[in-house]
């Protein structure tokens, strides 16, 4: 009985830690805005969105499976919501039945009450599957509804109900035990009385007078306490078992809420972008070996959600490239371009629509970002030290086919040193088959002869009109020896900076 709408082979644990690099990706790509839109203020939805996005799928078929399921949810949003609400209602039951203590008796009592609620939930699920399951076409949802039909038959649900009744123990409890150290009873196990009562057990209750029986007096408080302790020891085995069983059921409903929560989050994002006049497109994932990276109209959804102004979209034609070097004017849209590409790649590998008009790309076994940052918050490390540490951490995750998005890496030191460091890293990446998209103003790095002559290197440049205006478009173009800082200066100061003395 597995939900498995998100992943074919495992469940998503919404409480699991985010994978390494998630914090950097969020910060560098500006994913907060995307998660905000998906969650719509709901912390649970946000947790699911983050975990799903950062647990990238690396198999194009798995991505297509999820994209198809998402299409089903789009077309049957009402049913999806009904299932989601059912799951939430089940999970709410837990809060309704407080646990009165840690004793076996109270754990068992609570488990029986929860079981009653969950049994109703299972019946409701069966009804929804029967009435609404037909319209779903994706493999993921069809499997889910088929499973519900197969596993939750009337006979099985009846058996569960009968077991619940038996757990009221109207005829008392039967406990087996062994003699442990000091002849003390141990290994207490609650037993089901034999179905056919023979011999000694034939009578419902043992005879009044037998040397094998004794009774605790009505007023004997310590005796009564001892008796309830014995009962506790017996019940313990079944209390644990039933509590675990209700946990399994809760786990099932949790998975249901998680998986549907992700798809509903996707719908939220689409609605939010639509309000800003933007749309998402279904991406085309391909094998890593193809080294494909080809798109049109890529935009940064975070930027789109923040402003109503038209957001510049860019194209990318970087098939078979291992290194894409983006140079050009400051404030020319380089970082936005890098983010748009990174988000598209990440959302594609989450099986979501991507912010573009068209996007076809190789899946990457790992996606990492290395963006220049301000001062290290702790001040304990120097800036370069911090940069190198982050790079060293993310290199742990890079494998052939992985994607590294670098934004002004090693800009915290002088250009010569920065170029050398970056050249070393990028060279190692290329030779290992790791794809790099690097925004840089390190002219020496960008113009090294080794890179210039390489067919697997693509040069892009932020466009600038002859009069210094930025179009925020990124086009193919060789690096220029200056970064137009003077332009920005002039825009802010109202006059260009003076020429440097010779």
């Amino acid at each position: 009985m597995k939900v498995r709408l998100l992943f074919e082979d495992h469940d998503l644990d919404p409480a699991s830690p985010l994978p390494p690099g998630a914090a950097d990706l969020t910060l560098d790509l500006g994913l907060e805005a995307v998660f905000d839109a998906m969650a719509q203020g709901n912390a649970a939805l946000r947790a699911v969105a983050e975990r799903t996005v950062f647990r990238s799928l690396t198999d194009p078929a798995a991505i297509r499976r999820r994209l198809e399921a998402l299409q089903d949810v789009r077309e049957h949003a009402g049913v999806a919501r009904e299932l989601y609400d059912l799951a939430l209602a089940m999970l709410a039951a837990e809060r309704r039945y407080w646990s009165f203590g840690k004793s076996a008796d109270s754990v068992l009592h609570r488990a029986v009450r929860l079981l009653e609620v969950y049994l109703e939930g299972l019946e409701a699920l069966r009804r929804i599957a029967r009435t609404s399951g037909e319209g779903f076409r994706s493999e993921a949802f069809r499997r889910f509804f088929r499973m519900v039909g197969d596993e939750l038959g009337e006979a099985y649900l009846g058996e569960l109900r009968a077991q619940r009744d038996e757990l009221e123990f109207e005829d008392g409890v039967w406990i087996s035990a062994r003699l442990g150290a000091g002849n003390r009873g141990t290994e207490h196990v609650l037993r089901r009385p034999r179905e056919v009562r023979v011999g000694w057990w034939r009578r419902r209750f043992p005879p009044r007078k037998t040397p094998l029986a004794f009774e605790i007096g009505e007023r004997d408080e310590s005796g009564l306490r001892s008796l309830s302790e014995l009962r506790e020891r017996g019940i313990a085995s079944v209390a644990g078992a039933l509590a675990r069983s209700t946990e399994h059921l809760r786990g099932f409903f949790t998975c249901l809420s998680v998986d549907l929560g992700f798809f509903l989050g996707c719908l939220h994002l689409e609605t939010a972008l639509a309000a800003h006049g933007r749309a998402l497109v279904s991406p085309e994932p391909v094998d890593p070996e193809a080294r494909a990276a080809d798109g049109a109209g890529l935009y940064d959804p975070g930027l789109a959600l923040r402003s109503n102004a038209p957001v510049v979209a860019n194209d990318l034609a970087a098939d078979r490239k291992l290194l894409v070097v983006v140079t050009g004017a400051n404030q020319g849209g380089k970082s936005t371009f890098l983010r748009a590409f990174g988000i598209a790649q990440l959302l594609m590998q989450a099986g979501m629509g991507v912010p573009a008009e068209r996007f076809r790309a190789s899946v990457a076994p790992a996606i990492a970002t290395h963006f220049a940052r301000g001062e290290d918050a702790t001040m304990a490390r120097g800036k370069l030290d911090d940069e190198l540490r982050r790079m060293s951490q993310l290199v742990e995750r890079l494998r052939p086919g992985a994607l590294l998005l670098s934004n002004e890496s090693f800009s915290s030191t002088n250009e010569r040193e920065g170029s050398q460091l970056a050249a070393e890293v990028f060279r190692a990446c290329r030779e290992s088959g790791v794809r790099v998209v690097a925004v840089t103003h390190l002219y020496e790095l960008a113009c090294s002869a080794e890179l210039r002559d390489s067919p697997d290197v693509l040069y892009l440049r932020a466009e600038r009109t002859p009069d210094g205006q930025r179009t925020f478009r990124i086009r193919e173009g060789d690096p220029l020896p200056t970064s137009f800082g003077a332009d920005v200066y002039a825009a802010i100061f109202g006059a260009p900076p003076r020429a440097r003395p010779a």
Partner: protein, 478 residues
């Protein structure tokens, strides 16, 4: 330190054992052999397991006597007997297979071999383990309904929890909560437990009858020699526990080569064990030192700044000789030592304004006793003796003491702030506690053999700050 070793092992009363060093060289070697045998994992582990079991035996016997219910009392007696016979038999097996080189442990091995074959032990073992096995097979059923309890034979009734688990198996996820319902149970059976046990005894009368006969039939069955072995092994094991802890921190121990008192001595990497063993507030950083004394040197004079590690060094030397006399591994990388039959210590009263005369008197009384009793086979540790005297007096007294020690051929370590004491005769040798030259507050805790001139710290500090010539070349060469 020995009290620390004995902590948690109070039942063995170990401190008196540590206060009884070997009287002669042969006794030292006898203990060293035993220590080496016990330090080998198969032997040491076997003895440790044995000790744990014997402890359990004692606990069961002591606790069992206090129980109210006769059937509980009897069974705990049986449990104790089983633990005893099994642990002795297991020890016999382990020692039989173990490589043993020591006279002590081999003799005990032969004894235990005899013991487990002796008729009394064989009978005890058969009866106790037989009873245990019979009890182990008993399973019974209890029915509780309201206030009534009925005991019945168990006939394979189905495990309710298992059948519940089976019903819900199809929902099983990855996470599994382990539910524990700890029930605190008093040492004595409560009335319900007792009432049930009485009725279980009715259902299975055989083993209970045999148990009653067993309890009256045997009395004190712990062999006195086994009991003594159990205690004396702890003398070594307790110390090994400390050694292991410190070895894990990178400190070295070794078995010293112990020779006659007047032989040359040399030990590398020694340290103060009492200081190193301290865990609170944090394990200290330990600086190790070397100790070398070659003829004609008799008196090692340690000078240098306060808090420079002089006292620690003197203590380390004293411990080295004492622990060697105990036949235990010593805190050193390597050590060749002269046997110290007796070790005297004289730690001067700290400087104080009040009652100077009284303190000096006290110092001198103790010093006199030492000079009277100490012989060529003794070791004397003097630490800031006469610190309460004026400089003039202290010099005079100190020189006199040194001369007397030399005349008697006594070995001594003399910690003092008086440089002059180190230059008295060829029998004195000077060690100096070093500090960093540019900052007298930085102590290196290294005690080095050099003339006591109060200077010459430059090298140490240059190294510490990476400012030696070669360091500077390398660092500036980038």
């Amino acid at each position: 330190m020995f009290r620390g070793l004995a902590t948690g092992r109070e039942e063995y009363d170990l401190v008196p054992l540590y206060e009884a060093p070997a009287a002669d060289l042969d006794a030292v070697h006898f203990r060293q052999e035993v220590a080496r045998d016990l330090e080998r994992p198969p032997v040491g582990d076997a003895v440790r397991r044995f000790a744990d079991e014997m402890r359990r035996v004692r606990q069961l016997l002591a606790a069992g006597q206090q129980r109210r219910h006769e059937l509980q009392r009897g069974r705990m007696f049986v449990d104790a007997a089983v633990a005893y016979v099994e642990s002795v038999a297991e020890l016999e097996r382990a020692l039989a297979d173990a490589p043993l080189d020591s006279r002590g442990v081999r003799a005990f091995r032969d004894y235990v071999r005899w013991l487990v074959g002796a008729p009394a032990f064989v009978r005890l073992r058969a009866e106790a383990t037989g009873l245990e096995a019979e009890f182990g097979q008993i399973t019974y059923l209890v029915h509780v309904r309201e206030r009534r309890v009925v005991v019945a034979p168990y006939r394979g009734e189905v495990d309710f929890g298992a059948s519940v688990e089976a019903s819900f198996r199809r929902f099983e996820g990855s996470g599994e909560t382990e539910y524990r319902f700890p029930s605190r149970r008093a040492p004595d059976l409560d009335d319900v437990e007792g009432g049930i046990l009485d009725r279980v005894a009715l259902l299975f009368p055989g083993p209970f009858d045999r148990m009653r006969r067993f309890v009256v039939g045997v009395s004190d069955w712990i062999d006195p020699a086994v009991r003594r072995f159990d205690r004396e092994a702890q003398y070594f094991l307790a110390y090994f526990a400390l050694v292991e802890r410190l070895r894990a921190r990178g400190l070295a121990f070794c078995y010293p080569e112990v020779g006659a008192a007047d032989e040359d001595e040399s030990a590398e990497g020694i340290f103060d064990l009492a200081l190193a063993g301290r865990e609170e507030p944090a394990p200290p950083t330990i600086v190790v030192n070397d100790f070398v004394r070659t003829a004609p040197e008799r008196i090692v004079v340690v000078t240098g700044p306060n808090q420079g590690g002089k006292t620690t060094f003197a203590r380390a030397v004293g411990q080295l000789h004492y622990l060697a006399a105990l036949g235990l591994p010593v805190p050193a990388r390597s050590a060749r030592l002269g046997f110290a039959e007796r070790i005297f210590t004289h730690f001067g009263a700290p400087e104080a304004l009040a009652d100077l005369r009284g303190r000096l008197e006290d110092d001198l009384v103790r010093m006199h006793r030492i000079l009277t009793d100490a012989t060529r086979t003794s070791l004397v540790i003097l630490n800031e003796s006469f610190a309460s005297a004026t400089l003039e007096d202290a010099l005079q007294l100190g020189e006199e003491v040194v001369r007397q020690l030399i005349e008697r051929g006594v070995r001594a370590v003399y910690v003092t702030f008086l440089d002059e004491l180190s230059r008295i005769s060829p029998e004195t040798v000077s060690l100096v506690a070093t500090v960093a030259p540019d900052d007298p507050n930085v102590r290196t805790f290294r005690i080095v053999r050099q003339v006591a001139d109060g200077r010459a710290y430059a090298m140490a500090l240059a190294e510490k700050h990476g400012l030696t010539y070669s360091d500077l070349r390398r660092r500036m060469g980038r």
